[in-house]
């Protein structure tokens, strides 16, 4: 028993010496708290630049102009900011926003909160919007980006810009410059990445702007489908409008992807 206690005491002494040296023998440096999450460099951004960023997102990453254009698929947004106060008191409004900024943000993530008359999903009597939630899916704007677009809409709509430049937004994933992207492996992936579903009903997507593609293989041959992707205006299906589909998919896709898509679509019967 005595030996046992000696061993215990020796162990504790050794550990105590090590701990004591670490606590008192060397200086204690208090490390910095973790940095605030990496940002798009918003800290140094002026409101003008922030609005410009919003415009860029509106025309680019946000894919807004796909529908919000002068072809009547979705309302034009030029003056929307000025119209908001009226909409907030409209009996058809179902959201919870109390000011312009909140309304606009809400309209991005819950588009059905207010549907402009005549722009709702078919058969829903303007209660459900065909617009996707831009914070999810393939568009996936983050909070800072949404705010930038709101700032742009407020500015271009002639309303007062109330948005504050956020300081704690996650960093924008940088586009890898110059490096070719890896090719899409499956048609589903290509559909998701290229945003086909925003307009077409295809795969798991439910777009209604363009023709339903779920049975397209039974209606069209491969040559037609290939042309429809490369030059969308060459032949417009009845009931749909010209210039709706971006004409540059041919430039966005690799040849192997184009063929994969054509094969995939031709197989949908």
């Amino acid at each position: 028993m005595r030996q046992f206690l000696m061993v215990v005491a020796f162990t504790l002494l050794t550990v105590g010496l090590f701990a004591g040296y670490s606590n008192f023998g060397i200086p204690q440096i208090e490390p910095a708290q973790p940095p605030k999450q990496e940002k798009i460099d918003l800290g140094a951004m002026t409101m003008d630049k922030f609005i410009a960023l919003g415009e860029k997102i509106f025309n680019g990453k946000g894919t807004c102009t796909l529908c919000h254009n002068n072809l009547g698929r979705a309302p034009m947004l030029g003056g929307t900011a000025g119209l908001v106060p009226k909409r907030l008191v409209d009996p058809r409004y179902k959201g919870e926003a109390t000011n312009v900024e909140e309304y606009l943000i809400e309209s991005f993530v819950k588009p059905s909160a207010f549907v402009v008359a005549g722009f709702g999903k078919k058969g829903t009597n303007d209660t459900v919007s065909p617009m996707p939630d831009v914070s999810a899916g393939s568009i996936r704007l983050n909070d800072a980006e949404i705010k930038a677009v709101v700032a742009y809409l407020q500015d271009s709509g002639g309303a007062e810009v109330t948005v504050k430049i956020p300081t704690d937004a996650p960093e924008q994933t940088e586009q890898t410059e110059g490096e070719p992207r890896a090719p899409f492996e499956t048609p589903e992936q290509a559909i998701a990445e290229l945003g086909c579903g925003a307009c077409h009903k295809v795969a798991t997507e439910e777009g209604e702007v363009g023709p339903d593609l779920t049975k397209i293989g039974g209606l069209r041959d491969k040559a037609y489908l290939r042309q429809a992707i490369l030059d969308p205006n060459a032949d417009i299906t009845e009931g749909f409008e010209k210039d709706q589909m971006p004409p540059d998919y041919g430039a966005q896709m690799y040849a192997q992807e184009l063929e994969m898509m054509v094969d995939y679509l031709a197989g949908l019967k």
Binding site: Y21, I29, T173, Q189
Partner: protein, 598 residues
């Protein structure tokens, strides 16, 4: 022993049940993200967590809990993986020499490790449980990427247990001739399975330091091998494999020391003295190459990320390396001291006593260089006297080349201690003894000169590429000198006479405390280095991919870390002593008079 097996199975089934549950959950999660993001292939980006995503359970500090549990698991696992390695070696030695003592010792080692095995499983289960409980999102993300390897891990765990039980319970059954060979093969199999287990687990943790197979947003490419074979995987594998053996040796050494101190008879004392000596021998053999494996790992960390490298060596953690230097110095010194004390077993050792003090001087001198910090703590007066925070003479000792040189010298002289010990009881009879000695002295001389040349010339007069590159021939020099002199020794002492019988058991109790010091320092050191390795990620779960946004994501001060490590060490030592005690209890019998009806 039945009790032991039961507990063991319970531990394993906990691991499996929880693990499989979460693998399924992981799959479900994968499917969910796939549909949410529309990305096919089933992999979403790493989640961006908020502090509220981390469950707070009953006010328990989640990080400290998981830290301690993971550390305890690792210690036991290291011990349990290492013991079969040298049990295998000792059994093979026993088979070759037909000396039954080796076989008995191997059996005693494995007996110690089998209780530790069940504790390893229990700790592993607890670790998994804590991960799931405190860091569910991290675990889910990891289990999507590593679902296959986690599944095989669980399967392998079964295999490991099965082989271990046959190996242990079949020890006396599989004796003699062919059966012994079967048993040895089982030992090899046990080690193969155990090492594979370790490699898999290493992949998970190195993935968190040097993620691979995922894009910058954390979207998994689907290539599991890429994720496993990440940048730091092999450096960690090598380092851990060697360190585990040294660690296992030191713990078994402590076991023998404990038994030696409590032994009553001279014969028992002799047995445990012999056992402690062998365990220490294994620990030292593995300790010698360990600094090199450590340098390799650190260099690879530097190469992977300058930021991690500087955090590790020059920034925040630089002072932890001073503590590490103290601990490694303690290891070398206590190992040497044990060898010197052990010379008392031999009557012929007196011849070598006079050299010991020179070895000590070199060891301490090298250790002081090894210990000199890069950043000196200076009082204002000293600062003024020096004219700045740089010390003209101590400053250069603070950087890598000086420490490389110092550690090579320490290793060389530890090897020298060992050679003296081996010679202590022998008198060479071959005719070329003088020449042999001369060659050995010459070898040591040129080796030391070469180490100094490489360290000083490349360390201070060339650029960093050369500095790093020059450490390789330095290491090779050390290894060549050791191997060559051991080879010469073995020829020189062929058919040698014994100076007298070896008196096993004739060592002072002080030497046994040196063994304890070795074990405790090793445990504490592993805890500290584990913290450093994990801590250099700072506020990242997975470096640059998945941020740790929990309230505890800050990096603690050194004292705080040392206190947690100390607490964990004490917990571990308590459990280890419990294991030792169990193995003692299992061997003793009480005969109650008149209790059972006749």
């Amino acid at each position: 022993m039945n009790l032991c097996r039961l507990k063991n199975l319970k531990g394993i089934s906990t691991v499996l049940a929880v693990g499989i549950l979460w693998l399924l959950a992981g799959d479900a999660f994968g499917a969910e993200t796939a549909s949410a993001t529309g990305v096919t292939g089933g992999y979403g980006p790493a989640p961006d967590l908020k502090p509220s995503d981390y469950p707070q359970v009953a006010g328990v500090n989640s990080r400290v809990t998981i830290w301690i549990v993971a550390q305890l698991h690792l210690w036991f696992a290291a011990f349990v993986l290492a013991v079969p390695i040298f049990v295998f070696i000792i059994e093979a030695i026993g088979m070759r020499t037909r000396d039954k003592r080796y076989d008995d010792m191997a059996y005693e080692f494995i007996k110690v490790s089998i209780t530790a095995y069940s504790l390893t499983a229990i700790m592993g289960g607890l670790l998994l449980f804590c991960l799931v409980l405190f860091y569910p999102d991290l675990f889910r993300y990891m289990s999507v990427i590593f679902k296959d390897s986690m599944f095989y891990y669980a399967l392998l765990f079964f295999a490991e247990s099965a082989v271990l039980y046959i190996y242990y319970y079949g020890w006396h059954w599989l004796q003699g001739g062919f059966r012994k060979w079967v048993h040895l093969t089982l030992g090899l199999l046990l080690n193969a399975v155990g090492t594979t287990l370790m490699l898999l687990a290493n992949a998970w943790l190195t993935f968190m330091m040097s993620p691979a197979g995922v894009d910058p947003a954390g979207v998994f490419s689907g290539d599991a091998w890429a994720a496993i074979h990440n940048f730091l995987w092999n450096p960690i594998n090598i380092h851990r494999f060697i360190a585990n053996i040294a660690y296992g040796g030191s713990i078994v050494g402590a076991y023998a020391a404990f038994k030696f101190l409590t032994a009553s008879g001279a014969q028992e004392k002799a047995h445990y003295d012999w056992m402690g000596y062998n365990a220490n021998f294994i620990a030292i053999c593995a300790l010698l190459p360990l600094p090199f494996a450590g340098y390799y790992l650190a260099a690879e960390i530097y190469a992977y990320s300058q930021q991690m490298g500087i955090t590790l060596m020059g920034g925040l953690f630089a002072w932890l390396f001073i503590i590490q230097a103290v601990l490694i110095g303690t290891l070398f010194l206590s190992a040497n001291y044990y060898l010197w004390c052990g010379m008392g077993r031999s009557d012929g050792a007196k011849r070598y006593y006079k050299y010991i003090k020179y070895i000590a001087i070199v060891l301490i001198g090298a250790f002081l260089v090894w210990f000199t910090p890069h950043t000196l703590v200076l009082t204002n007066e000293e600062l003024k006297a020096l004219g700045g925070p740089y010390h003209k003479y101590l400053g250069p000792l603070g950087i890598m080349p000086a420490k490389n040189t110092a550690v090579n010298l320490m290793i060389l002289f530890t090897a020298l201690s060992f050679m003296f010990y081996r010679r202590a009881n022998k008198v060479a009879t071959v005719g070329w003894v003088k020449a042999g000695n001369a060659i050995q002295v010459a070898l040591f001389t040129t080796g030391i000169l070469n180490i100094f040349f490489l360290g000083v010339y490349h360390g201070y007069f060339t650029n960093t590429v050369y500095k790093v590159a020059a450490s390789i021939p330095q290491v090779l020099t050390t290894l060549i000198v050791i191997v060559a002199s051991v080879v010469i020794d073995s020829f020189m002492y062929r058919r040698s006479q014994e100076a007298g019988p070896l008196h096993w058991g004739r060592v002072p109790p002080r030497s046994q405390y040196a063994l304890f010091l070795l074990a405790v320092s090793f445990t504490w050191l592993m805890g500290l280095m584990g913290y450093i390795r994990s801590g250099i990620r700072q506020h990242w779960h997975i470096l640059d991919i998945m941020r740790d946004n929990s309230p505890d994501a800050f990096t603690p001060t050194l004292g705080y870390a040392a206190n947690v490590v100390s607490l964990a060490t004490i917990l571990f030592m308590a459990m280890v002593i419990f294991v030792f005690w169990l193995s003692q209890v299992s061997g003793s019998k009480t005969l109650p008079d008149g209790y059972w009806k006749e």
